[in-house]
Every structure is written in C-alpha cells, then in structure tokens.
C-alpha cells in the first residue's frame, strides 16, 4: 500500500518526497553504478511486453545496471524460456494478446516458485484483472506505466 502510494507521488513533479527523488538522482543510481563490480551474482530478469520498444528499452536499461535482462514480446516465449531456466525476476506487462501478463507470471511462478514477479501496466482495467487474480489468493506487485527507470531500479533493489 505504502509502496503504491509512493509510486503515484513519485511521478508528480511538484512533489518532493524526502529521501526518494534526491536519493535516486544522487546516490541510488550512482550506487548502482558503483556496485557494477560487486561480486554479487548477476540476477536474470525476463522483461515481457508485447510492445517491442518497451520491452527492448527496459531490458537495455536493466542490462546497463547489470541485470541479465532478456526481452520477450509474448508470454508464451517467456514461459518457454523459464521452463529451461528459472529467472530471478519477471517483469511483465499485464494487457497482452494471447495469454496476458497475469497468466504468464502465474505459469512462471508455477515453474519457478522462487522467482520474483512484478507487473507493469498502463491500462486502468488492470485493476479488475488483478482483483480477479487476488480473489484466487494471488498477490502481485504492480507498477504503473509510465514508470521512470530510476523508480523501477529502486523497486528492483
């Protein structure tokens, strides 16, 4: 709850959330850059979005921050990949043709119970889809499009 509220407010330019905007600008991003050489295991992240440019740009940014990011343009492809190798994180768009993001991440979670899942949506109707899923006992982290890359990185940390 607190998180979602923070997301909203982080995108209002007038708002100056203490310890967020400035941190990202000055320390978080910098620290990512500075942790580039950290001996921590590089995390694999599957970026799924039927919008190719979204998936590619996000994957590119994440790779720049040392994620092993792979872009997928459909849920099926990502699931196929996950069958072979479980990712650390899945970041998926919700509203997609054929199987949607929720079905995709649920399938992946089924295959890879330890994989963290984040949903990203630019569509108001997402809430209803989520509510259906939640009524079946699932909980998801949801990020709203457009999300600023710095905010996304902060959330992934």
């Amino acid at each position: 709850m607190g998180l979602t509220s923070a997301i909203i407010f982080s995108h209002i330019p007038d708002f100056c959330l203490p310890g967020t905007e400035s941190d990202i600008d000055s320390s978080s991003v910098t620290s990512h850059r500075s942790t580039r050489g950290l001996d921590r295991k590089i995390r694999r992240i599957l970026v799924i979005d039927d919008e190719k440019l979204v998936a590619d740009s996000l994957a590119e940014i994440l790779r720049r921050f040392h994620f092993d990011a792979i872009a997928f343009y459909s849920g099926e492809d990502a699931i196929e990949f996950a069958r072979e190798q479980c990712p650390d994180i899945v970041l998926s768009d919700v509203m997609m043709p054929q199987i949607n993001g929720i079905e995709t991440v649920l399938k992946i979670q089924e295959l890879c119970p330890n994989t963290r899942v984040l949903l990203l949506s630019g569509h108001a109707a997402t809430a209803d889809v989520l509510r259906n899923a939640e009524s079946e006992g699932h909980r998801f982290e949801l990020l709203a499009k457009p999300i600023h890359p710095e905010e996304l990185l902060r959330r992934l940390q």
Binding site: S5, E51, E134
Partner: protein
C-alpha cells in the same frame, strides 16, 4: 177586567151633531153622541146625571153595558133617590148586558144587520111603546162598540156604529156611546178614533176637558192639548226611528251570530244547549232540532273534558282555547279549541257564550309539518339511510298515529325485500309480529311491501282481516294490529326500499298523510342519492387529500381556491396560506409570463398534459414539477377555473442528471481506458530511451542537459496522462486509516511549498479519528485539496486543515476540511469547479484535480461541499465527508 166598567147613561137626544163641539155636561147630547172617558167613576157619575135626568123627565132609558158598569150605575141611581125598580117595572129603564146582546147579532167577527135590526129594533119598539103618545123620548147608552174595540175588532165596532145610525132612521132615539180613552193609547189608533167620531153627531171629550167650567179655560186646554199632541207626535216619530234602528241592529246582530263562520252556542248551567248557530250545526252535522235542547255532554268525545269544562264555567272561569274533541253526527271526531265564558244576570248563570274553533286540519297539518321538520333534521344529521330510518320511523308513526313500522330494503343479490329496521310505539309491543317481520322476505308483489315494490306507489290495507295478500296477517291480528299502509323509497325512479306502517285501528290514513308520505318517500330517496354522492365525493376528497401529488385548483384569475396535503408537502405552503393567493406565488419570476398562457388554454377548454417546468417552494428551493392542468366546469358547463396536478420531479431530475453524469463519466472512463494503453506504452518507451540517452557516457553535457529537460517534460506528460486516462486504481480494499497520520503525511509533502509562500497551517485533528479509504486515493484527495489551497493563498496567508467525526444522514463518518483565505471562487466558477478540464490556474492546473477528487469521494459514498466567498473577508472552504461504512454502489451516484 175590561176597561168598560161603566154603565152607560145616554142623554137621549134626537138632534144631529151640534155645530159646537162642546156640549153642556149636564144634558145628554141629542142624536148619536160619543163620550170618551178616562175614569170609570167619572163616566158613571156623568151617566147617572144625564140618564137620571132623562128618567126624571119620563123618558125611557136603554142601557146596553158591561155588568160592572150596569151595577155601578144602578147603585148610583139609588143613591140619588131614583126609584129604579119602578122605572124597570114600567119598562122605562131597560138594562142589557153588552156581550149577551152582541152574541145575538154577531156572525163571525161582523155584526149582522138583519139580526141587529131584529134584536135592537125589538128593544126600541118595547121602549117606544111605553113612551108613545106622550112627549117622552128614548135615550140609549151603548157599550157594545167599546167592547168590540177593546177586543181588537175596530172594524166591527165601526160597522156596529153604522148599523146604529141606520137604525135611527127607523126609530127615534138618542144614542150615547162611551169609549175609554185608553183604548186609543197608540198613535195608530188615531185613525180608528176619527172613524168612530165620524159615526157620531156629538163627540164629548174625556173629563179633563168636560170638567172645565168656562170657555177660556177650555180654549187654553185645547191649545195645551194641541201642543202636547205635537210634542207627542214628534216624540213618536223619534221613537219610531229609534225603534227602527234598534230593530235593524237586532236583526244584524242576529244575522251576525247565526251566520258567523265560527261555531257558537249557549249552554245552560245544567249543560242543556239553549242555542247554536249555523256554523256549529254544520261543523257537527246536526239539525237545530237534533242539537238544541240536548245536553252538551252527548256531543263530546271525552266525558272528562266536558265535565271539566262545565265545572270551570260554573266557577265563572273563562276557557281560553280549551282543547278537546267533539263528536260529529257521522261518527267522526273533530279536534276543537273552546273559548267560553258565562253570561250572568244578578249573579245567576244564564248561559255560556261559547266559541268553538275546529282545529282538526290545523292540528293535523301541524303534526305533519312537525314530522316533516323532524324528518328534514334527521336527514341533515343522519350518516346513512339505515340511521335515518331508525329515527324517522318514530317521527312518522307519531304524526300518523301508527303503532308499528318497518323499513324494507331491496336486496341487490336476491331481488327480495328484507326488513332492516322496525319501530313500535313505546306504549305497545307487538313481539310476534315484529319477529315475523324481521324474518320475512318478500318478492315483488308479495305482501304489502312487495306490492309497493312492484308498483312504486303507496298502498294501504284498511282492514288486514279482509286482505288475502298479507302473509303476516295472523300474527298481526293476534298482536292487535288491524290496518297497514306502505310507501316506496325511490332513488332516481328505482325502488330502493319500502316503509310500512301498521295501526291498531281499522281504517285508511287520511289522504293528506298519504300525500305527505309520498313526498317523504321522494325526500328519503333524494337523501339516499345525496349520501351516495357524498360517499363518492368523500372518497374522491380522501384520494385528493392523500395524494402525493399536489392537487390544486384556481379560478380564472389565477387565484388558488384549493390546496391539498400533497401541495403542502411539495411547496411548503399550508392550504390556509395559499387559498386566496395568486398561483404566481409559486411560479419563479422569470416564468410569470407562462401563467397567462396557461389560463388562456384553460379558458379555451384545453388541457395541459405533463408540462415540465419549475416552481418555487416556500423556502425558495426550485422544484422541478410536471403539471397536468384541466379546466374545471360548473353545473352549466361553464369553465370557472383550473385543476392542477403537480408532480415533484426534482428527485427524478436529479436522478436523470446523475445518470447522465454517470454515463458521461463512464464513457469518458472507457475512452480513457482505451487511450491509456496506447499512450502509456509509447510514453514508457520514450521515457526509457531518453533515460538511456541521458545516462549514456558518450554524450556531451549540452545533450545531457537537453535530455534532462526532455526527461522532466516527459514526467509532466506522464502525470497528466495518469490523471486523465485512468488514474491509478488501487487494487486493494478500503481499510481503516488514522486520519491524523494520513494528513501529516500529505502535509509533509507540501512542507517546502508552504514554507516558500510563508504560509501558516493550522491543523485541528480529532484524536483517534479513523477513516475508511484506500490510502493512495485518500492521499491523492488530500493532496489535491491542500495543493489547491496553497495555490489560492496569498503570500503569508493561513491554511486550516481539520478532521473530526461526524454524522451525516445517520451515518457515522469523518469530515475533513481544508480552508484557505485566498480570493475565493466566483459563483459561476463554483458551478464549474467539479467539471473536468476546468481550471483557474492556467499555467499549472490540469483542470482535473477536483473532478477526480469528487469522483473518488463519491465512489466511497461520501460527498464534497464547497463554500467560497469573494470580497472581504474572502476564502474557500472545502469539506469532505467520508462514511465509516461504505454504502452499496448505487448510492454513490446521487
């Protein structure tokens, strides 16, 4: 005793009547003379002198007189020393009884000439014989004429005088007659006296004249007598006149009482009827022979009453309208009022003076009228026909003298008559008949009620004994009832029921009563009809009164004439406030011009259906109404006003507007949702690429600066897109939050801005106030309001934020208030404030903040209020109410 008590003494004289009316008293006049006298003694004295002189002279004297006169004369002669016996013996004094002598010649009432000549001639011959040859004559005194006259046989007396005169031609004799003057006391006797005098040669006046001694005295006496005669004649004339008047008056009075229209009679102290006038006889139907002479008690119906009347009159107590009943010859009775007192002579009861006024018709009319009046009152008061019947029966029975009555009603289902009510005289009971009546059912034509039902006309049975169509006859007669009549109660010509009356007496009710009852039947019918109308009207009135719609009537000038409860509820005015006031009272000024148009249509007989317009309530609220207006017509079809049904459609309008808004929002929402995806995705890509570019190490500082600007502008686009195209929908459910914490969080966000404008913020937050909301949404709402307040405030101004629990419409919740002391919002801007894309902050505002705020608040069943004023002091207060328990979704629309 006869006036002729005198013995005649005739001065025998053969001479004819002397020229001088006056003869010397001593000598008997010669020929046929008449003497008038007042006093018997004087006559006898005079006769004794003259006749005594004649006897002394040797004449023969004949006396035909009454017994007493003969006896007195004889006695007088003897006193004078005359030897009467000798004269009798010598047949020179012949005395005969007047009546005896007359009997010998009278035939009927007239003297018979032949017989007279024979009888009197015989006497004269006898006398003549004795006086023959000598110088002696015959002197006769006769009273037969006076006897006849005294007996009222004046003509016979004159005839007898004439016979005497005729006889004087055969015999020579002097005849002296005498009449008592009092035989001629009446003025009508003058003529008889004159005729008698004419038969005589000498007239000797009565002693008042003859006793006078000398000529001058006698002349004086004559003069005085003449004067007296005049005076008497005058008096007689006066008296005759008075007498005539008196007789006329008497005749008139007699006529007055005999032929007066008021019955009058005289009754003696013992009750004997002494006299009665024609009116009394005709009232009772008796002849005078059958009535007068009988006792009055025989003609009274009530023995006690007449006894009482006679006792009162015996006490000389006048009767002033004593009410009783008298018996007529035909056996009927009449109710009368007697006015009577007593005529007394010397305190002795002579007779009553009794006036009898026949009040039978009047009494009956009064009784009928009283009954009519009572019925009228009953009709006014009665609630129903059954009520009316219960009371009316007694009244009618009393007026008609009936003893029992019943009301029968036609039963719609069966078409039978059933008794619904009975009444009986409190002095008598008819238990069996009443029971039988209450259990009877009659078809048309059956029994008396059935007959009346069939004919719709009054009907009567004078004697139940002889009526075969009266099923209750046996019980009726056993209970002592003998006659009956009944009349219909008609409503619009259709028999509604029948009223039946029974009497213990045989006979028909009087005609007048039947006529009255026919009238009563119609009246009762009208009553029933009126009640039906009243019922219908009451039902309508109840409908009007209970209607939720305003039902109002007005006249053609637009003045309100009625105003129901519905109208009171809708417009807030009470009926007493509105009746008499113009209907424009509830029409908003800008619509006043509608009224003449409405009235014009009504006057033209047109109806206005579902005319949707606006009216003003008493509290100034504008009310959306749907009007249906119809012309109101009077009985003649003339349009006299308008009836208006006003339905309050304010709520309906609100719903419609809310629905409209909801639809608009929904379509906007759908559009936004569709567009959002299309915009957010490219926005995401562009943001990412700009980010990649600006974080790329190979770019110049200038490029990095440009990309930073682009990045900021993209953030602004993202913010607008988020608000416009589907703000973030929190995926969780509302939870209870601590109001203070949420407010503090939001205020903290704006701390920098507050400081930059040097604004002071006053927070008044009730301790432990909980609010049920989605935290993100609540924060967004609060930040919108605080952000607006900061923007509106002047440098160094004040803000106030408060939160406290509140009850609104019985719902517990929280009221959050954000107030600023800015310039305020003009009324026209206030109305647009909650519409999308309206902003007063052209440079920084999106025009979406309050619209979104309102939607968020109303989504959870709360509401938002704004109060703002421009001028001094100015400022804006926005308050939000959020219920603790959320209402179902349908409430959110309103």
């Amino acid at each position: 005793m006869d006036a002729l008590g005198t013995q005649a003494n005739t001065d025998a004289s053969r001479s004819t009547r002397t020229s001088s009316p006056i003869s010397p008293p001593q000598a008997a006049p010669r020929g046929h003379s008449v003497q008038l006298y007042a006093d018997d003694q004087y006559l006898i004295r005079d006769l004794s002198r003259t006749l005594g002189a004649a006897l002394g002279a040797g004449d023969t004297v004949i006396v035909i007189a009454t017994g007493p006169h003969r006896d007195s004369l004889a006695k007088r002669f003897e006193e004078r020393g005359l030897n009467l016996q000798q004269a009798i013996a010598e047949e020179r004094y012949i005395a005969l009884d007047a009546a005896d002598t007359m009997s010998k010649f009278m035939v009927g009432n007239e003297p018979d000439k032949t017989r007279f000549f024979n009888v009197i001639g015989g006497v004269l011959q006898r006398a003549n014989r004795n006086s023959a040859g000598e110088h002696h004559g015959i002197v006769a005194f006769g009273e037969m004429v006076a006897v006849l006259f005294a007996n009222g046989q004046a003509d016979a007396a004159i005839s007898l005088e004439q016979l005497w005169n005729e006889l004087s031609s055969l015999y020579e004799f002097n005849l002296h007659c005498a009449y008592p003057i009092n035989l001629f006391h009446s003025s009508t006797d003058s003529e008889s006296l004159r005729r008698i005098c004419e038969q005589h040669q000498h007239v000797v006046p009565a002693e008042s004249y003859t006793s006078l001694g000398n000529e001058p005295d006698r002349l004086l006496a004559v003069t005085l007598l003449q004067q007296k005669a005049r005076a008497l004649e005058h008096e007689i004339r006066e008296r005759e006149k008075a007498q005539k008047t008196l007789l006329q008056r008497e005749a008139e009075l007699r006529d007055f009482v005999e032929n007066a229209v008021v019955p009058l009679h005289w009754v003696a102290a013992d009750g004997t009827i002494l006299w009665a006038n024609n009116a009394e006889l005709s009232m009772l139907g008796y002849t005078s022979d059958e009535y007068i002479g009988r006792n009055i008690a025989e003609f009274h119906a009530d023995a006690d009453a007449i006894r009482d009347i006679m006792v009162r009159l015996g006490r000389r107590e006048p009767l002033d309208g004593y009410k009783t009943r008298v018996l007529c010859r035909d056996g009927s009775t009449r109710t009368v009022r007697i006015y009577s007192n007593v005529y007394c002579r010397d305190d002795e009861f002579v007779h009553t003076r009794c006036f009898t006024i026949d009040v039978t018709s009047r009494e009956r009319a009064e009784r009928h009228m009283a009954a009519q009046l009572a019925l009228t009152h009953l009709m006014v008061d009665a609630d129903s026909l059954a009520d009316l019947a219960e009371d009316a029966l007694g009244v009618i029975c009393e007026a008609s003298g009936c003893d029992m009555s019943s009301v029968w009603q036609v039963q719609e289902e069966t078409g039978e008559l059933r008794c619904i009510q009975t009444w009986h005289n409190p002095k008598h009971a008819f238990p069996n008949f009443e029971k039988s009546t209450l259990s009877s059912r009659f078809h048309r034509g059956e029994g008396l009620p059935g007959r009346v039902f069939e004919t719709n006309k009054p009907s009567c049975i004078p004697d139940l004994q002889h009526d075969p169509n009266f099923p209750r006859r046996t019980t009726a007669i056993a209970d002592g009832l003998h006659s009956a009549f009944a009349f219909p109660i008609s409503v619009k010509g259709k028999v509604w029921g029948v009223i039946e009356f029974l009497s213990r007496k045989v006979g028909e009710p009087d005609q007048e009563f039947l006529v009255m009852m026919a009238g009563v039947g119609i009246q009762v019918g009208q009553f029933a009809e009126r009640k039906q109308l009243d019922d219908a009207r009451n039902k309508l009135a109840a409908i009007v009164a209970s209607s939720d719609d305003g039902i109002v009537s007005k006249d053609l000038t637009g003045v309100v004439t009625s105003w129901n409860k519905g109208a009171e509820r809708i417009f807030g005015y009470k009926a007493e406030e509105m009746i008499g006031r113009p209907i424009t009272t509830i029409i908003p000024p800008h619509l006043h011009s509608d009224e003449p148009v409405i009235l014009g249509k009504i006057q033209a007989g047109e109806r206005i259906d579902h005319f949707e317009t606006v009216r003003v309530a008493k509290n100034g609220d504008l009310i959306d109404v749907s009007l249906t207006i119809s012309p109101v017509k009077d009985d003649n079809g003339r349009i006299v006003g308008a009836a208006k049904i006003a339905r309050d459609i304010t709520q309906q309008r609100k719903l419609e507007r809310a629905l409209h808004t909801a639809e608009r929002l929904a379509s906007v929402g759908r559009l936004a949702a569709t567009v959002a995806h299309e915009i957010n995705n490219p926005l995401e890509s562009v943001t990412n690429f700009v980010y990649l570019a600006k974080t790329s190490p190979d770019i110049s500082e200038d490029v990095r600066r440009y990309l930073n600007c682009a990045d900021q502008e993209l953030s602004r686009v993202a913010h607008i897109a988020r608000q416009t195209l589907g703000f973030y929908r929190d995926n969780s459910r509302p939870v209870q939050l601590d109001a203070a914490k949420v407010i503090n969080d939001v205020v903290a966000i704006y701390q920098r801005k507050l400081e930059s404008k040097n604004l002071s913020l006053e927070k008044k937050i009730e301790k432990d106030v909980q609010v049920t909301a989605l935290e993100g949404e609540l924060k967004q709402v609060l930040s919108n309001l605080i952000s607006n307040a900061i923007d509106a405030s002047h440098f160094g101004g004040k803000l106030r934020v408060s939160a406290h629990s509140a009850y609104v419409h019985d719902r517990l919740g929280v009221r959050l208030v954000v107030a600023d002391a800015g310039d305020g919002i003009s009324p026209e801007n206030q109305r647009k404030l909650f519409t999308p894309f309206f902003t007063t902050k052209k440079e920084v505002g999106t025009g979406l903040g309050l619209w979104i705020t309102k939607e968020l608040v109303e989504k959870v069943g709360g509401h938002i209020r704004l109060r703002s004023r421009t001028g001094t002091p100015s400022g804006t207060v926005i308050s939000i109410f959020l219920p603790l328990q959320q209402e179902p979704a349908d409430r959110q629309v309103a």
